[in-house]
Symmetry: C2
Subunit: 221 residues, 2 copies
């Protein structure tokens, strides 16, 4: 990626958000960790180690992060999703928004429990409005694996109604060592979102800690 | 599998049904190909080659196949599902029913279009009644690969509310060279059903003909 956009990671103090932040900072991206509590965002940012010569990671409130970010990553728990989206809605018009939300409802997180809108990605698009270019991705990657330097044996299914926006997110994934794949329109996101509950169940059933997903039979990359 | 049950393959003249029939016959299972047209079922059965010493495959109406089968496999198109289930409903009480139905609605088969009940497997359970022990599986395997002698690079996610019934279907899958995995309750089937549309879209986007699925990070088998 020739020019690296400023990534705002909304809810970036959580497990998935901080894992993605770790990898994107290591890959040389300018990032802003957004949090409901700006101070917590700054603390999390201060713990990230940027490579020599790259921009120091920043922390901010979710609103300020969304305002300053060129690409917005949503990494918030399902139960907080709508409320947090409302706080950033004014700052996402025309921007690419990468939604990672999975509709997990504790305590039965290994049971698929979809929203009546169909999937979390469609909830996000509805909440942010048609101006936001929503793509969903990174649903199936175990958060703790993002913080390890090891390669991750998991593909990233990328959903969105615009092929160029999907392509951009596939390129983002590649920057952090993950293979992204065009997986169809935003509504197809239900497949990856539901699969996350299945993977959580597989982790339990087989006593492993990071079951993932590979799409076979696709030669490219 | 020490004792091989009689498998009734409802809609067994279709692509997935005949692919599964091919593999189960080769594995030495007694099978009955069910079809709405009994003659077509018999024709399809006559084309299957059973190994020396094993039972000759039979063909029959879907009703007769369901009546005689010990385990029932449902391999019918989504649009025909409810009607065909009604014809076999009287013969499935207490039996294990392996549902493979994916809710594809032509022409947009690469777009996830789920039924209001949540997924096809729950429709099947509802239609057959609580007496049928419904497990869903084999959603993601490319039908044409089942007819090839080659190994298939695809896992089988197995959904059902009873762990022993899932275990049995995992053993069935193993008999035809496929790794099955416990994937949670029947309602989780939505993950694999939706993924089939995603895989169809991936086949188109990457110009391949049999994208499949592997779950990574699970050591056993």
């Amino acid at each position: 990626m020739a020019s690296k956009p400023v990534l705002a990671i909304i809810g970036g103090t959580g497990a998935l958000g901080s894992g993605l932040a770790h990898r994107f900072v290591a890959a040389g991206f300018p990032i802003i960790i957004g949090s409901r509590n700006a101070e917590k965002g700054r603390e999390a940012a201060s713990r990230l180690v940027a490579p020599t010569g790259s921009v120091t990671p920043l922390g901010a409130s979710n609103e300020d992060a969304a305002r300053a970010g060129e690409v917005i990553l949503i990494t918030v728990p399902w139960v907080s999703q709508s409320g947090i989206l409302d706080t950033i809605q004014a700052f996402v018009d025309g921007k690419l928004v990468v939604d990672t939300t999975v509709p997990l409802r504790p305590p039965k997180v290994a049971r698929v429990q979809l929203p009546r809108e169909g999937c979390a990605a469609l909830v996000t698009q509805g909440r942010l409005g048609p101006g936001a270019r929503v793509v969903s991705a990174f649903h199936n990657v175990a958060a703790h694996k993002l913080k390890s330097p090891n390669s991750i044996d998991c593909d990233v299914l990328v959903f969105g109604d615009d092929a160029k926006d999907r392509e951009f997110v596939i390129a983002l994934a590649k920057e952090i060592g993950l293979r992204g794949l065009h997986a169809g329109p935003l509504g197809n996101s239900v497949a990856a979102e539901a699969l996350t509950s299945v993977l959580i169940g597989i982790n339990r059933a087989y006593k492993v800690d990071g079951a993932g997903l590979r799409i076979t039979g696709v030669i490219e990359q």
